[in-house]
């Protein structure tokens, strides 16, 4: 089971073992990470589950689809090349030691 490191804005890290196939946004909600709001419940429509993937690890996921790409324009914290909506990310076999950084703001 891949270990995923969630890095909070204050620099603290929470490391979790996450099942392959699990959604990153869902994992954050299940663990009560308040940094992820996910107002639309996972439809890539609210831009409130924004995360930064470690720059060296962005290729672990397929590129954002059009709906996500469009919505990333509206994230509350700066959009960077490694910005993703966590509702569109599914943990795969290669995700061991994945680092997911929470942005300062979602709204």
């Amino acid at each position: 089971m891949p270990t995923v490191h969630f890095i909070h804005p204050n620099g603290q890290t929470t490391s979790l073992d996450v099942d392959v196939g699990k959604n990153v946004m869902g994992t954050c909600r299940d663990h009560g990470f308040s940094e992820v709001l996910a107002e639309c419940g996972g439809s890539a429509l609210c831009a409130t589950c924004h995360v930064y993937i470690d720059e060296a690890q962005v290729d672990l996921f397929s590129l954002p689809n059009e709906v996500e790409n469009q919505m990333l324009e509206f994230v509350a914290s700066e959009r960077r090349p490694n910005s993703r909506l966590s509702c569109q990310l599914t943990i795969n076999e290669q995700c061991n030691n994945l680092k997911v950084y929470f942005p300062l703001q979602q709204i």
């Binding site: 996972g42 439809s43 429509l45 469009q70 509350a76 709204i107």
Partner: protein, 397 residues
Amino acid sequence: MTISPPNIPTSTIDPFSEEYILRPYAFHKELRQLGPVSYLSDLGVFVVTQYEYVKEVLNQPLVFCSGAGVGISNFKKNPPWRVPSLVLETDPPDHTRNRAIISKALSPIALRALKAQFEAEANLLIDRLLEKRNFDAVKDLAEAFPLKVFGDAIGITPNEREKAIVYGNMVFNGMGPKNELFMQAMSRADEINPWILNVCQRENLSQSGLGIQIYEAVGSGILTEMEATTLVRSFLSAGIDTTAHAISNAIYSFVSFPDQWIKLKANPQLSKSAFEETLRFESPFQTFFRTTTTNAKLGNYVIPENEKVMLSLGSANRDPLQWESPELFDISRITTGQLGFGTGIHGCVGQMLARAEVEALLQVMAKKVTTIRFNGEPKRLLHNTLRGFESLPIELI
């Protein structure tokens, strides 16, 4: 087509019959028990009712396409009654382009700016209704609220807005077979069709609304003027009576489950989850169709190419394999994954706007209203696609 495909279970249930429309849940159960897909022999269409498979179909838009219509009619065989929607009834890549234009207009930033207006209007409306005390919750509350706030947000003329309800009724009854409900809904088509296209014209939209923003895509050469008008029309067909039925269904559910109303009053912040639970419990959008573009595998079955597949969102949202005690309205339930707005590339693009509207209304009601009760017999709406009420006489104290 009268011969059922090999191995796929067959049923003679008619989802457009009055019995089914009024009391769908026992029929849903029967269909879910038949398996991932069954064939409705009287209509010649396939039906998917289990949560897992409804979701699977929605997430495979290239295999189960929308371009041949999302009602029972197959546009490849029968021409549609209106110019098809540029978002609802299209497939990628056109769909991707058009949806992006709408989602830009409905951006989270634009919505945040609208929230204060929704709250202010909700306060005014509820104050007025508390004074009136006895009224029809469908006309005076559930329809009145989105007609005002959504109409203003899009920026359409304040005149004759109730015609948008008539139009929505045409669009969604029009997704069913050509039965009496279809004919009845279409009876004013000659008057309503030109009206809706007229209010969606560039020169008839407010400069400060969301509708006019669609026309920016004409300036940049992405859309033609006519396409922009058709896209603005999508706001009006999709965003008014659907929201109205959701509000009626919420009120009906709260009166039917008074403990949930007490829960909401104690914590108005539950408005958000109350709306989600309403969409799960009494999904305003009961059904959508897709059309197979190939021999499409679902579970252990294969649906032949170019066949209509009915998706029962209402059934998926009450599938006991997905939901614990699905027949209970529970506003503190975790509703993530409810399919009331659909999901995938055709998931409701206006869902955040609808949420903002209804949450504002429920919050104001939770703060200002002590008691809601029926003061007459609720009358269910007979409708080919939507679930709601014809009238809902209530007393608000």
